[in-house]
């Protein structure tokens, strides 16, 4: 029970909300669509210099000599830095060797080319899809056994063994990684493209050995991050040093597309040989997985507790994973790290088992729901998805997808995530003129964070959304967590709620005597402060604020992840189900998306419109990775052959089909508070689409992306057309 001095922070009851829960257009939508929004790659402070990185062309090499004199002597060059001196071993193509700043981008590029570097080339491995070729680069993590898998496989009614794989893919942020930075005297002005406005200053401060307080971070908008933009990175540190060497002039380094694709992060691959067993009734009895993957030089992890994914409680399990170290750029968090891969490997094997048992996979996924941590949620979502896509009417056993060359099929898959809010502090200010500001050192990744902050403040203060001035994207505002792991919505909504409730309490205290009542009897509704139960006594919002005289109200509110669940504003733990409907031309092997249905529970939804957009975006990313995306490296030369947007393929509008979103908005979910929605919808799509193709053509296409060559090869392996 809250004591009398603790204000009531609880979300208003679902049916009483006037702003939250109603679709609201994103506040910066017009700015973005019209080009008025300025991203940090658009920032151009006076006197700005252009920085360029010189990178290593070899997968593995040692620098034997480096000569920068020609670059230094080029007119227009203001600074040259050696990042990798002679003797330095470089472990992937694209590794940073030197950096140059000059008065124009062309001059900087030319200067970088004038730097003479000699390398001793060293042995390398750039591919991991064939485990047998990995040699001593493979590091097994050891086996984990639960129950008696051997006995369970022997006693099973059906056992299916299959190979599955997803290649390394990259983030493809529309705005590449980089920053503009000016190191002038002891102050640093810093415009990075970041998911971590409050924290990135401290990160670069350590690298530059300057007090964190001297670093001022600005960022109004970011052109995509997806998990790859947390640290200040070597190019940030180098740009700062170039600025200092150039007399404090601002220096801009944003990676070119090739370098972006090579070194600014990727999603680790996942390959696996999987055996799964079940009974005639569809219940799963045993699981065995030998998986391997890479995330670059450090290898790659697929934790044993991810398998089998979601259906964790399969009684008998044997789990092995091997990490492969490759000479490729390092992995970074990619929207639901490891979950799409685990979902693909698990749900593909489950679909194959259902096919072997001549059962409908929908029934198998429902039947085994008790093996999950949230059985009721999965059962309900599987049924809801099935209802939307018309599963029982449209599903057919494998290979019965029609008589013509184009076969249609349905597939499904599941996902899970946390999504509780991160640490966040908000400062809410009510000015005597009635204007309202909320300040947070947070960021809007394109998710609509700015909009939901305004909606929460508007709801609390009884004001329209347009009356709230949201200030984010500056590290002089109160600290808010990095936007990763679907933690932002929960964090910023809880802190904003608390700060605005606290500010409103102060306003009530200031106006209560004049209204002849006590603060606890007041209410803020429809731009008025009213006495509950006596509508004759009220003040307009502006009149109430005028009572403040010359004193503004400034109050903070904080979300603390340790106490948040108890307080109930934000919690975590979600389920999700996606179902795909595809057509496959069996003569060409081309896969066409018809529909992708996404059913997700996500707690209290503040803005259904931007929540739905979040899911659209995630589904599109899944369609891209299921059908098109792969980083293609050549082991002969150690290079990635498609570091571009031409042969590194993403879906276009025509490739996406229809996306149908169902948000589980109901009282039960609402009571759980706000839960982030960044990762959950990015998880099941790969597997759902792969399963739909298997259902359509009657045979598993083991490896994503589902391109013509792979689909035709799978059809050929089956013998003739479907």
């Amino acid at each position: 029970m809250p004591d009398s001095t603790t204000p009531n922070y609880h979300w208003p009851p679902m049916n009483d909300r006037r702003v939250m829960g109603k679709p609201h257009t994103r506040l910066d939508g017009i700015q973005k669509a019209s080009g008025a929004a300025k991203y940090n790659s658009d920032v151009k402070p006076s006197g700005m210099l252009f920085g360029v990185l010189l990178t290593c062309p070899h997968a593995h090499a040692r620098v034997t000599s480096i000569d920068t004199s020609a670059a230094e002597n080029l007119p227009g060059v203001t600074a040259v830095r050696v990042i990798s001196p002679a003797g330095k071993e470089l472990q992937w193509a694209g590794a940073e060797v030197a950096a140059v700043a000059a008065t124009s981008e062309e001059t900087a590029t030319k200067a970088a080319r004038l730097i003479k570097v000699e390398y001793e080339q060293l042995p390398f491995l750039v591919r991991e899809d064939d485990l047998s070729q990995a040699g001593n680069r493979a590091k097994p993590a050891g086996e984990q056994v639960t129950g008696d898998p051997d006995k369970a496989f022997q006693e099973a009614d059906a056992v299916v063994e299959g190979n599955y794989g997803i290649p390394v893919i990259t983030h493809c942020c529309l705005e590449s990684h980089g920053q503009v930075i000016a190191w002038n005297g002891d102050k640093i002005e810093y415009w990075p493209s970041t998911q971590n406005v409050s924290g990135i200053g401290g990160d670069i401060a350590r690298a530059l050995n300057v007090p964190a307080a001297n670093i001022h971070v600005h960022q109004d908008h970011i052109g995509g991050g997806f998990g790859s933009k947390f640290p200040s990175d070597l190019w940030g540190v180098e740009a700062a040093q170039l600025s200092k060497m150039s007399g404090g002039k601002p220096v801009k380094i944003f990676l070119d597309r090739e370098t972006e694709l090579l070194i600014a992060g990727n999603r680790p691959s996942a390959y696996g040989k999987i055996k799964i067993a079940g009974k005639k009734d569809g219940s799963i009895t045993a699981w065995e997985s030998y998986t391997w993957n890479t995330g670059g030089l450090a290898g790659g992890g697929l934790a044993a507790d991810l398998f089998p994914y979601v259906y964790r409680k399969v009684p008998n399990r044997r789990i092995n994973h091997t990490a492969i170290s490759t000479n490729t750029g390092s992995a970074r968090a990619w929207r639901a790290p490891n979950h799409p891969q685990a979902s693909y490997l698990t749900c593909s094997a489950m679909e194959d088992l259902a096919a072997k048992l001549n059962l409908d996979p929908l029934d198998v996924f429902i039947k085994n729901a008790d093996l999950t941590m949230r059985a009721d949620a999965y059962r309900a979502q599987l049924q809801k998805g099935a209802e939307i896509i018309g599963w029982k009417k449209n599903w057919h056993p494998r290979g019965e997808g029609g008589s013509g060359p184009v076969k249609r099929g349905l597939g499904l898959a599941v996902g899970t995530w946390g999504g509780a809010g991160h640490a966040s502090k908000c400062l809410a200010t009510i000015h005597p003129d009635g204007s309202v500001e909320v300040e947070l050192g947070s960021q809007d990744l394109g998710t609509g964070a700015r909009t939901i902050i305004a909606m929460v403040a508007a709801e609390t203060l009884g004001l329209p959304v347009s009356a709230i001035n949201v200030k984010i994207g500056d590290n002089s505002y109160p600290p808010s967590g990095a936007s990763g792991g679907s933690t932002t919505s929960g964090g910023v909504s809880a802190s904003t709620r608390k700060a605005t409730v606290n500010a409103l309490e102060k306003l009530y205290a200031a106006v209560a005597p004049g209204l002849g009542t006590t603060p606890d009897k007041l209410q803020a509704v429809d731009r008025r402060i009213v006495v509950q139960g006596d509508t004759s006594k009220s003040l307009t919002w502006e009149a109430a604020c005028r009572k403040l005289g010359t004193n503004k109200i400034s109050e903070t509110g904080e979300n603390n992840p340790r106490t948040a669940e108890r307080e109930g504003l934000t919690t975590g733990g979600v389920a999700g189900v996606q179902m795909a409907d595809v057509s496959v031309d069996t003569e060409t092997g081309l896969v066409k998306m018809n529909r992708l249905v996404a059913v997700h529970d996500c707690g209290l939804i503040i803005n259904p419109k931007t929540a739905e957009s979040q899911i659209f975006g995630a589904c599109i990313m899944s369609i891209c990775s299921a059908l098109f995306e792969e980083r293609i490296a050549d082991q002969q030369i150690g290079r990635v052959l498609n570091p571009d947007m031409e042969f590194y393929k993403l879906a276009g509008l025509m490739d996406i089909g229809e996306i149908i979103v169902h948000l589980d908005i109901n009282a039960e979910n609402d009571h759980r508070g706000v839960i982030g929605l960044g990762e959950p919808p990015a998880i099941p799509g790969d597997a759902a689409i792969g399963n739909a193709v298997a259902n359509a053509i009657g045979v598993r296409v083991p490896h994503l992306p589902l391109t013509a060559d792979r689909v035709l090869a799978a059809l050929a392996s089956k013998g003739g057309n479907a």
Binding site: E106, T109, K110, G404, P405, V406, D585, E587, T588, G589, L590, L627, F628, I632, D634, Q636, I637, R639, L641, N642, E646, F647, K649, A651, G652, L653, M654, D655, T707, A708, D709, L712, A713
Partner: protein, 330 residues
């Protein structure tokens, strides 16, 4: 990108005078959709760039006494929106729409399409037209999913031209000018397979410009293009086929079948065309012609699927030309 000299002549003679005897002396700039990326990637570093978009002689698309004349700098969009192209040259119309980006259709030009360089990723990574490293091609043991299945070795790239197969099938000719005069080359002879690193994939010389494309009347000639590409959004075809059929009643009297994106040049499938003579176009005869068209194909380690795609492209192009929909729909 390196610095370069830029000139923008107003007449053809001025433009020709600005070209050189070596490729690196000067590069004609029309749409720039390929040239600029070649220059940015340092694959091609010309000393001079000659903008030919202001040259009036190179513009314009119009009907002639013998057919259709397309100026060198006519854009894809101008071709696609030309009524005569739509009615009489559907194979050309479909080939243009296969370039599935309005931006590129607005900028890219007819001559640029013919003269663009291959998309082979080894070539674009600086390993030369034949993708050589240490005296050996990287393609056979490398990433060759998009490479040639016909007429390959020592060149393994595929011709990037979207219009080439349709122009060859329609019997078009390419007019070429230099400061010393002009010549006309059959479209089928414009594209060639280079046999050494210094070779080129077209017959154009550094001092020459393509000035116009002349296509004979296709009145009564059934023609179509069918393209198979991974994405519906802009993407290079995995295989394409253009066909032209002269009919005698319901049977074929003469046929031309040309494959795209499967060989270093548009690939003329003469035997497949011959086999159609006297036949009517049915699912069966079209499929047979598809099979015949890939006769002699030699797939690499990753691209045997392109044989199947080429067959299907031929079959569907023939059915489309004959006004019949194929079983897989549009």
């Amino acid at each position: 990108m390196n610095s370069f000299e830029y000139s923008s002549p107003a007449t053809l003679n001025e433009a020709l005078a600005l070209l050189g005897s070596q490729w690196t002396d000067a590069a004609p700039l029309a749409g720039g959709t390929d040239l600029i990326s070649l220059m940015k990637d340092d694959v091609f570093v010309p000393k001079r760039v000659v903008n030919i978009k202001e040259v009036k002689e190179l513009a314009g698309i119009h009907k002639t006494a013998h057919g259709l004349r397309i100026g060198a700098t006519v854009t894809f969009d101008e071709i696609a929106s030309n009524p005569l192209v739509r009615s009489e040259y559907p194979s050309l119309h479909e080939a243009v729409l296969g370039v599935a980006s309005p931006q590129i259709r607005n900028m890219g030009t007819a001559a640029g399409d013919l003269c663009q360089r291959p998309r082979c990723w080894y070539y674009r990574s600086g390993y030369g037209l034949l993708a050589m490293k240490d005296g050996k091609s990287l393609v056979p043991n490398g990433e060759n999913r998009y490479h040639a299945i016909l007429g390959a070795g020592p060149a393994y790239f595929v011709s990037a031209s979207s219009l080439g197969p349709a122009l060859v099938a329609l019997g078009a000719s390419i007019k070429i000018a230099s400061a010393s005069g002009s010549r006309t080359v059959e479209a089928g002879k414009f594209f060639v397979t280079p046999h050494d690193e210094n070779g080129r994939e077209i017959v154009l010389q550094p001092n020459e410009l393509v000035t116009e494309i002349l296509i004979p009347s296709a009145s009564g000639v059934k023609n179509a293009t069918y393209e198979i590409r991974q994405r519906e959004a802009i993407d290079w075809p995995l295989a394409a086929a253009s066909v032209a059929l002269h009919m005698k009643g319901s049977t074929v009297s003469e046929a031309s079948i040309v494959l795209g994106h499967v060989a270093p040049t548009p690939w003329v499938a003469a035997q497949a065309a011959e086999s159609l003579k006297g036949q009517s176009i049915t699912e069966e005869s079209a499929a047979k012609a598809g099979d015949a068209a890939v006769e002699g194909a030699q797939p690499l380690s990753q691209n045997s699927y392109k044989i199947q795609l080429a067959k299907v492209a031929v079959k569907r192009a023939l059915l489309a030309a004959a006004g019949k929909s194929h079983a897989a729909g549009a």
